[in-house]
């Protein structure tokens, strides 16, 4: 066989083996979930917690496996970086096509996958070089233990995102556009909206009373169903999210619980409009995905609040 073909064969073989490990872990989890859901709830709980650590440690293990195949290619570090990217592309493509995972979620997760996979491949490069190509198995119990330990140590992350904006209109005028507002026609300027993440578009509400049903509608037709839980005219509106859309970008990743608008009158006649959202994040590693959740939520807040500002100032 031609040397360049052998080279490609080894590169793709490493990427495939790494993905095989990733998929094997996924299938193992699916099997454990199905078997333990009713029969062994304690085991089910432990499996569910440990699953969250997948995004960091499993890619590292995948990188180690891939490096075993790539070691004979005597690649430079750039080679490992590109091959790690190829492996991530295969992984992300498979998740999108086979599991119907959300494209934006995958886009967000990709840099982390790439970094962790590259780290694993660098570790593998040194390990296999040291033992002259023999598979050093001691690393795997450490990785498996670490996977379970991280998940067990950290619970789900609850958080609140707060943003504020000054509106050059009195609270009485701003309040008219807080409970419900007509469709936002401006094109979103947030880069994730431009690559497919739906943007906030419109809110409808049955009326100004506690218990009123409210709907927050997104650009692709997704609807968050809400109910007004607290209402102080011209001061505060709080709503609980009762139904979240069944969307792959959200499903199993993040749960939104509550939203709130608070209006504070400023001495100069303007209004400080404050928006808050409460959520629980269910993906690991928290430090990475919490940053994204906050960034995306902030963009939703600001898009809606800028729209309220525009409507209030036009009439005020």
């Amino acid at each position: 066989m031609h040397p360049s073909r052998i080279r490609w064969f080894r590169i793709l073989g490493g990427a495939f083996a790494a993905n095989l490990l990733g998929w094997a872990v996924t299938v193992l989890y699916a099997w454990i979930f199905r078997r333990t859901m009713t029969e062994a709830p304690k085991v089910h709980e432990i499996a569910a917690i440990s699953l969250y650590a997948n995004l960091l440690l499993v890619p590292m293990a995948m990188g180690v496996i891939a490096a075993y195949f790539w070691q004979r290619l005597e690649m430079r570090i750039w080679g490992y970086l590109l091959c790690a990217l190829l492996t991530v592309a295969m992984c992300v493509g498979g998740a999108y096509l086979l599991v119907k995972e959300g494209a934006v979620c995958l886009l967000i997760a990709s840099p982390l996958l790439w970094g962790a996979l590259f780290a694993g491949s660098l570790i593998g490069r040194l390990i296999f070089r040291k033992v002259e190509g023999r598979l050093q198995l001691a690393i795997f119990p450490v990785i498996i233990l670490a996977i379970f330990a991280e998940g067990k140590m950290v619970g789900d992350e609850g958080g609140v995102v707060t943003d504020q904006i000054v509106v050059a209109a009195p609270p009485a005028e701003v309040w008219k556009h807080v409970v419900a507002f007509p469709r936002i026609t401006d094109e979103p300027d947030y880069w994730l909206n431009k690559v497919g993440l739906p943007s906030a578009a419109e809110t409808t509400c049955e009326g100004e009373f506690v218990g009123a049903k409210r709907e927050c509608i997104f650009s692709n037709g997704l609807v968050f169903k809400e109910v007004v839980s607290e209402l102080e005219p011209q001061r505060r509106l709080t709503f609980d999210v009762t139904e979240q859309p069944n969307d792959p970008e959200l499903l199993g990743h993040v749960t939104l619980h509550r939203g709130q608008f608070e209006l504070q009158a400023n001495p100069d006649g303007s209004t400080m409009l404050i928006g808050r959202s409460w959520y629980t994040l269910r993906v690991r590693p928290l430090w990475y995905f919490d940053w994204w959740t906050r960034d995306i939520t902030r963009e939703v807040h600001l898009r809606v609040m800028r729209h309220i500002k525009h409507l209030s100032e036009a009439r005020g």
Binding site: M60, R76, I77, L81, G115, L126, R129, K130, I143, A146
Partner: protein, 146 residues
């Protein structure tokens, strides 16, 4: 800057399995994407350490590549080009005074010194430090990092 902050305030994170390796890989990734000359220098240093000192490149416990020869670590290089070598206390002061190295970035009073690799021409100076490390007495390795 990030590296300095993490080393100064997040040293405890180094005890978590695999986290330093992940952090160092991200530094190396940043180097690869932004400074190809520095990346080539890091690779060249690894190559020279193997050729000249028969060192075995190994995973360093605080991330990066350690050069191990004769059962002990001569030095290690991080993904951002920071090279640490054990030259012994006797050589340390002379190396620093001559401007061939800096005090170690974490243990300035130890027998370790640090040196920033920026380009391929810096590699020979790092090799000199490795040579001093090879000749240094490991019994005086205060604050040994490996």
């Amino acid at each position: 800057m990030i590296f300095r902050f993490v080393v100064r305030h997040g040293r405890w994170l180094g005890r978590m399995p695999l986290l330093p390796q992940l952090f160092d890989a991200l530094l190396l990734m940043a180097t690869a994407l932004t400074n190809r000359g520095k990346l080539r220098a890091i690779e060249l240093l690894e190559q020279r350490a193997v050729e000249l000192f028969h060192a075995t490149p190994s995973v360093h416990r605080f991330g990066g590549v350690a050069f191990v020869a004769g059962g002990r670590e001569l030095g290690h290089v991080h993904g951002n080009g920071l090279f640490d070598a054990f030259v012994g206390r006797a050589n340390r002061d002379a190396a620093i005074a001559a401007g061939r190295a800096l005090p170690h970035h974490v243990f300035p009073r130890s027998g370790w010194v640090s040196f920033w690799i920026e380009r391929e021409s810096d590699v020979e100076r790092a090799v000199e430090l490795l040579r001093m490390s090879e000749q240094a007495d490991p019994r005086h390795a205060d604050g040994h990092l490996s």
